[in-house]
Subunit: 295 residues, 2 copies
């Protein structure tokens, strides 16, 4: 087995897979379409495999190509991580660190924390990746992640921040107009804001919060940010972080019936422990989140 496949070819291959066409990949990669085309041909020859079925409206990836995608993405992640760790040379805190968090945390909680951190270390650059999908730190999609789950991998360095409490909230204006529900049954007469497609996380909670079911929602949104915005604008009653509700002057509703504790963890690959930029960011996130929880 000849190991002589140029790595550039994989990069072009991934580009085509992502963009769906030679031209698109060329644009994304900053090279020209004929070059990308030649790369793909070269890769197919090197591997002895058909990767795409050509059509003039684009390229259709074969099964083989699809199966290779995950590894190609991982390879790209590694390349990016490599570039990041290279930016970490000086003794000082500098370079790029990539932080992953949920949308709500990333939009509502992290900005002030990161702003302060940047003020302290102006040479530090931060990439914020917001996604509710659990990022894979081992594959280096991010350097540091804020998660609601205790990490399981031994190679991960984790610190428990505490518990974020979720509860039902509404804007005072809404409650003034529609009344404050006193029992769970009262909710039926209210505009309840909830999810549309249940995520894995919601399914896991599942039955634990009864009477909070898709069919009962008057307003459905999969984006947690959208739900939060709806609550804030008095559209109805929905779940959000208690700390956020308090901060924004929202009123909590039925606190005894609806309360959810989310364990919060900050996680980092243990190899990065001795990287100043990661270490510093890790600590700043921990401190900032604890402050947020304290309210």
């Amino acid at each position: 087995m000849t190991e002589q496949v140029a790595w550039e070819l994989y990069r072009s291959f991934l580009g085509v897979l992502r963009e769906g066409s030679l031209s698109g990949a060329a644009r994304a990669l900053g090279i020209t379409q004929p070059t990308v085309g030649r790369h793909v041909v070269a890769l197919e020859q090197a591997l002895g495999v058909t990767l795409f079925t050509r059509s003039q409206t684009g390229l259709l990836p074969t099964e083989t190509a699809l199966a290779m995608r995950a590894d190609a993405e991982a390879m790209a992640n590694m390349a990016a991580a490599l570039a990041r760790s290279a930016s970490d040379h000086g003794n000082g805190v500098s370079g790029v660190v990539r932080v992953s968090a949920s949308e709500v945390i990333g939009v509502e909680v992290l900005p002030p924390v990161l702003a302060r951190l940047r003020e302290q270390y102006p040479a530090l650059q931060i990439e914020l990746v917001l996604s509710n999908r659990v990022q894979d730190l081992l594959q280096r999609e991010a350097d540091i992640a804020v998660r609601m789950l205790r990490p399981e991998q031994a190679q991960l360095l984790a610190r428990r921040i505490g518990e974020i409490e979720l509860g039902l909230h509404a804007h005072p204006v809404y409650l003034a107009r529609h009344g404050v529900p006193q029992t769970v049954a009262d909710l039926a007469a209210h505009a309840v804001i909830g999810y549309d497609q249940p995520t894995a996380f919601i399914r896991k909670l599942g039955k634990s919060v009864q009477a909070f079911d898709r069919d009962t929602f008057a307003l459905r949104a999969d984006s947690d940010l959208a739900q939060l915005a709806l609550i804030r604008h008095g559209a109805g009653i929905g779940m959000c972080q208690v700390a956020l509700g308090r901060r924004d002057g929202l009123q909590r509703v039925l606190p005894q019936a609806f309360s959810l504790q989310l364990e919060t963890w900050i996680t980092m690959h243990e190899d990065l422990r001795h990287s100043p930029r990661c270490r510093v960011t890790f600590d700043a996130l921990a401190e900032g989140l604890m402050l947020h929880l304290a309210g």
Copy 2:
């Protein structure tokens, strides 16, 4: 942040890191020394970092370069995995699968299993990686691993094979000449074969097997294979798999005092579940190992 670092540069960089010199890397990569040198220079410029301090006796990697090594290795693993999964296209079972196992398992147990498997699927190619270090399947150092530990990662598909029992053994000739020890104390008068540097695994067992300590060993070898060979040639008394001892006509000694159960698992990345070549190999390994355990 320009993402325009050619991936080839990383490959040459890793080559230099591995080989310790431009010339060595060039040989390993099948290109010439000036090219590797230029690649390194290009990478240093692209990243704005000094990766090596030049000397005419070789290149000395900087801290930065060393910190980047792990990611570079991971990237290389991904490239290799990519090439392997490409070889998996046909409907039939073909292509390369990389199996990792301990030295003893790999030398003493797997060969017949793999031979039979290859007879059944001639288009299947197998790379056997023997190492007592726990291979990292998530980083794709291997497709399938035989391990003595229950895997912890959720992304790994694992099957428990059973328990491998270790016990003290000696060749009948040795025992005929030196007598069969009847008590643990008797061992002091015997040639006991053991480890030199305790591995993490041995340290973990630690005190569980008393009277089996480095200082008491007459023959020390870190290679399990060497220990096994010594036992087989009547050099003394040592630990080995009971199944192997039985197969080779070794006699077990002090079975009640020295018995160790090792859980055995076969592990695979879950993404590979639908890869015929991996699936088939996984099953063959499971079956073969169970047969081995049954004796």
